[in-house]
Each structure stands twice: as structure tokens, then as C-alpha cells.
Symmetry: C2
DNA sequence: TTGTAAGCGTTATCAC
DNA sequence: GTGATAACGCTTACAA
């Protein structure tokens, strides 16, 4: 493994100074065409790849941002990342999962600090301590995440999502709609939306809480529900169920089928997240979509904003993506009374209607 | 955002030289306890985080390895990563997805080169060109990946997995077993295993090929199969189906149910990959597991091996994880006739038996 | 055991 | 336009 060629090698080969090479590589316009060509061929011939280590050390920025997510199993973050990448063009993203790192006693935020990233996207639970003394421009992405003084929050409006799902079922004529909820901030927000919508429509809310947010927990809870209804003494089986996530909706469908209840004829079901399984032909699950892609895009724009005024006037050439103004939602204060009120954006979710709701 | 403290700041505050600080931080034993304590408190007080940029530049290694995967949607890689992390303790991993990067015209391998990673794990399709002139110790992880001269291959034996699934169904008494396959190297290997096992048992193979490896494509293909069987003229419906992945198995189950065929009573189904959905109570899918966790662990050990003799005699203190010898499988040659025959490991898959196969 | 000093490969600031 | 020449924050001989 021969050592990698350096900018010196390139300069020598092209017969110019190291500075000129640097200029060419950064796309400066004040370089003669011949010199530029000479440098470029030298680069190609040597298969030269500039060292980001050195560049970061010498320069004022690293042109990189760190993304902290909960865990890679969360399929949810894939489109988020795509969105981030789209609006954060020009920056290289590196991802770390809080769960695994924590398991190893490593703090992802600390890791990114030592990498000297220019900014941070916090999309997962992060150790309180590490976050307090951040010292790096950051945005919080998602809902269950903490509110950070100085860091804008970009999240999907899950309460609104809960209302959306409930309204859909109600408008389909259902009056006895059960909400299958669970623990956690997301579940709570979605459930709150359900309660609100039910209340406004004069319908009686009926919440069932599973032990966990998994398919099997939902299966068990729903099975219990149908079993009780069968007994006769308990309240009758509902005609519709809003599950706070898709796997749980699958659990409901399974439990119903086990009791001979078909979906959607005997029971209308709506899930949440519009995960890949929702689109399965076999399930065709109506689901609320938080549009993670857009979430990422908006968060990226917000961070870009932060980065821009942290670095002072327009870092020329930095506009790898569209530097449009941050959308209007980004105006409200997240915490009115705080010392450093950061703007917040709550993005409206959409309802993806499929067969499971019988629409 | 005050500038981050440097090793100089720590040294000054602790009343020692920069070198001493460096020694302490790297856990050298040749440091007096007082000085060590002084340094440590200074570090804490200043909230000092060493710069990996500077460390990488100055040192001979960066203690980091790059992992290239296909796309983050591939849930498969999450446990792989966990395995890698386990055996690559001491190195920091960074992940890049080939798909998204390619979309942006970025070459992940090039990116890692400029980051000066010590090693590479190639778990996704990588541009041929970039790979040829690698110049970095690497291992190839997975199956559809290219064979790289000099890079060991660590993969799951999917042919064996295909046999496993088929044998399971055959031993359950099924004789008319259909293999629902698709395009791609993985599908081909799994299907080949099916054919082999059927052949050895004197059973007639019957392969159905879906247009894609998705649930919906499988649903369509399976629906066609049952429809034809119903007609009477065509061959009868099989009593068992081996689908080359879990979503496709779900498609089969759905199509069967649509025809009034219940699983497993009327049809036994086996999938592949043991993805999360396979464990769903509602599906309870028997599935072949390639044990991605172990795959990652073995690949990590192999890379560690490479890294060790690339860096010369035991880089003291590098043993962040177990430096056990690489397993026996790592002995065979991947490409006997090649210039640089790299060792290869084909890991045996396991069968996870659930209800869908009626066992 | 501890300090000194020479790099490491860039960027950035000047002169020319 | 182009080229010296300091930083940048750390590791690593080599001295002391």
C-alpha cells in the first residue's frame, strides 16, 4: 500500500506551487487555463485524493455534518437522510446511531465533536450532558427528541396525524373507533390527536394501550379486546381501529382475522408511518405518512441557515443546494420563555388511503 | 461558539508539556500518577476533545474504517453493522450507502480514501474503477458483491440456505414444492440450492419467477399460479412454496388467502432472511436466517487481520476487541487461479422454524 | 518520567 | 495569476 500522493507531489508533477494546486482544486477562477490543465492531469495521473484531515485542520470548516439517529433498525430514517442530503448538498453527512454507541459507552455527539463537524442533526435520543455544552450549530429532528435551547426543532405534527386518521374513519361512518396506543412520546401525540378529533365530533374516545409498540403486543391487546366483546358482558367490538403505528395495525388485523373478523368488511384499520409493509398488496394498509423525506429536507435547510450565519457572510461557493429561505413554519418560537428561543417547524402529515380502511 | 480547546490549552493548564498530555490520553503507563491526574482534571475542566483530524494527520493511522452498503433501506445491514462494531472495537466505523451517493455522483470509496480510513468493508455494489486501485485493506461482505483480488470474501452460503428450506419442506412430507424466485444473484443462489436439494431427493423442481423481488410481484406471480391450478388444465397447486425472501413469502400467503387457501393447512410457506416481519405473530413465517450479525463479526475479524499485518507487528493497545484467530472457514481460496488469491468464508445459514411451514 | 522539536497535508495570508 | 510561508492540533522520535 504505497503512501497516498500529496498536494506536493501534484505540484511538482505539474510544475507549479502547492498553493496553485489548492486553488485549482477549489475551483478558483483566477487561474490560467494552462496551469489548471496541468494540475488536473497531474491529479489524474497520480490518482490524487486530497486529505480531508489536512483540509479540515488547516481550514476553518470541515464541510461535514453529523447525524445522530436512534438506531439503524428504524427504517424511518432512510428517507430522512435522503432529504438531508438533498438540502445539505456540499456537506458530507456521517451517521451515528445513539443506541449502539451508547451500548458501547460511546457518545456519538462527542465523536462528532472530535471529528470537528460543522453542524449536527439530532434525530435520536442523545445524552443530556453531551447536549448541554454542545458548542456546535444543531437542529433537532423528530418528535420525541428534547427541546434544545438554540437548536431549531423540525418535526412532523403527530397530533395532527392522529386527527387525520380519526377523521378519516369518522367520515367513513364509524362511530365506535378504538385507538390502539402504547408508551412513548410519539404514541402519546398520536393518541392526543385521536382524542381531540373524537371530542370535536362528539364521539366517545376509547383507548386501548398495548404494552409495547410492537406487532405482537398489539396482537395480544387486540385479541383481548375481541375476546371480551365476544363474551357479551364487555363493550361490543369496535367497527374501526386506529393503531399508532403500522406493525401494531398488522397485529390488529391478525387478531381480528383469528376471530373470523375480516378487514375491512368487519373492521376498518388505519396505521401510522406509511412503512413499506403498509404498501404490501396483502395488507394494503391505510396509513398516516409523516413524510420523513421532507422532514429531512426542511431540517437540512434550517441547519444550513445556522451554518451560514455561524460562518459569517455567505461562504462563497457553499451553495451546493438551493439556499431558499426557510419555510414560513419556521417562524414560531418553540419555547417562548426560553433564553434562546429557537424557531420550530411542525410539518403537516398526509393520509395514504388504501384498502384496510374500507374507503 | 468559542473555539475548541487544544492540547496546548490542556498542557498549559496542567503545567506540563503537550507530549505528556498526549501520552496520558493514549493511556501510556510511563506517566507519574500526579501528572496524569493533573492532565485528566485539566481535560475535564476545559471539556477538551482531541481532534481526530489532527491525530490522523500526525499519526500513521486514523483508527477508522469505512463501511459501504447498498442502501439504508436494506434493514439487513443493521445487524451486520452491530457485528462489525463488535469485532472492530477500537475502530470507529462510518457508513456510506452506495445507492444514494451514486445518485449524487459521489463515489463512497473515494470519500473514504480522502478520509484516510485504515480499512474498508465493502457490503454493497461499488464502482469497478474505484475498487481496482483501492490501495486500502478491504474485505467484501455479502454475496452479490464482486470478488476483489486481495480482499477476502465473507458471505452467507445462500445455496446452502436454499437447500435448508427445501429439505425442511420435503421432510414435512411435501413433494410438490414450488420455488418462487426472482432476478438477482441472491435469488439465483437460493434457487440453485432448491434445485440441488430437490434433485438429490428425486423430486421434480418447479420454479416460478417473479418480475421483481417485492411482495407485490410475488403476490401477482402466486395469484397466477393458483388461478391456473384452479382452471384444472394446468398443473395442480403445490402443497408448499419456498419464496426467496420474506416479503415475497408474504405475497404468496396473501395470494393464497385470496383464493381461500389457508396457511399452513392448505399451503406450507418458507421465506428467507428472517426479517422482522417474519416474526410477526400474524404471519409467523418460517425463514432462513443468514445471521447477518455473525457475518459482520467474521468480516470484522478478517479486516482486523488485514489491518494488523498492514501496520506491521501488533500495534500495541489496538486490541479493543477479541483478537482471536480468524475461523477455520477463512482458509479456502476464493479464486484459485487469481493473482492474489484471497481467503473466503462462506457462513452456514440457519432455519428459523415458525408456523407458516406447518412443522 | 518528561520536554523539545520535527513533521503530517492542507488552507490562508501575504507578497510578488 | 502565482508562489512563499505561516498556521492548524496532534503524534512521535529523540533528548534530557
Amino acid at each position: 500500500m504505497a503512501k497516498a500522493p500529496t498536494i506536493y507531489d501534484v505540484a511538482r508533477r505539474a510544475g507549479v506551487s502547492k498553493s496553485l494546486v489548492s486553488l485549482v482544486l477549489r475551483g478558483s477562477s483566477r487561474v490560467s487555463d494552462e496551469k489548471r490543465a496541468a494540475v488536473l492531469t497531474a491529479v489524474a495521473e497520480l490518482d490524487y485524493t486530497p486529505s480531508r484531515l489536512a483540509a479540515g485542520l488547516a481550514g476553518s470548516r470541515t464541510r461535514s455534518v453529523g447525524v445522530v439517529i436512534d438506531e439503524f433498525e428504524n427504517l424511518w430514517f432512510a428517507p430522512v437522510l435522503a432529504g438531508l442530503r438533498a438540502s445539505l448538498g456540499g456537506y458530507s453527512l456521517s451517521v451515528a446511531d445513539a443506541a449502539l454507541n451508547a451500548h458501547l459507552g460511546l457518545d456519538p455527539v462527542e465523536a462528532f465533536r472530535s471529528l470537528r463537524v460543522d453542524g449536527l442533526v439530532l434525530a435520536g435520543e442523545v445524552p443530556e450532558a453531551a447536549v448541554q455544552r454542545l458548542g456546535i450549530p444543531a437542529v433537532v429532528l423528530g418528535t420525541r427528541s428534547m427541546l434544545l435551547p438554540g437548536a431549531p426543532l423540525v418535526a412532523s405534527d403527530e397530533r395532527a396525524g392522529g386527527r387525520l386518521a380519526t377523521a378519516h374513519l369518522a367520515e367513513l361512518g364509524h362511530r365506535d373507533i378504538v385507538c390502539l396506543s402504547a408508551t412513548g412520546a410519539s404514541s402519546a401525540a398520536r393518541e392526543a390527536g385521536y382524542r381531540e378529533e373524537m371530542g370535536e365530533r362528539g364521539l366517545a374516545p376509547r383507548v386501548l394501550r398495548a404494552a409495547r409498540t410492537t406487532e405482537s403486543a398489539a396482537f395480544a391487546a387486540a385479541a383481548g379486546l375481541f375476546e371480551a366483546a365476544r363474551g357479551g358482558a364487555a363493550p361490543p367490538a369496535p367497527s374501526a381501529v386506529f393503531a399508532v403505528n403500522d406493525p401494531m395495525a398488522v397485529g390488529v388485523i391478525g387478531a381480528a382475522r383469528a376471530r373470523g373478523i375480516e378487514v375491512p368488511c368487519g373492521l376498518a384499520v388505519v396505521g401510522y408511518d406509511d412503512s413499506p409493509i403498509a404498501a404490501y398488496e396483502t395488507l394494503s394498509l391505510t396509513s398516516v405518512s409523516g413524510d420523513p423525506r421532507e422532514l429531512g429536507e426542511v431540517a437540512g435547510r434550517a441547519l444550513r441557515e445556522l451554518l451560514a450565519d455561524a460562518a459569517g457572510p455567505v461562504p462563497a461557493g457553499a451553495s451546493g443546494g438551493a439556499r431558499e429561505p426557510v419555510p414560513a413554519e419556521l417562524g414560531r418560537d418553540a419555547a417562548p420563555g426560553r433564553a434562546a428561543p429557537a424557531p420550530a417547524a411542525l410539518l403537516p402529515p398526509r393520509l395514504i388511503v388504501r384498502r384496510s380502511s374500507g374507503a
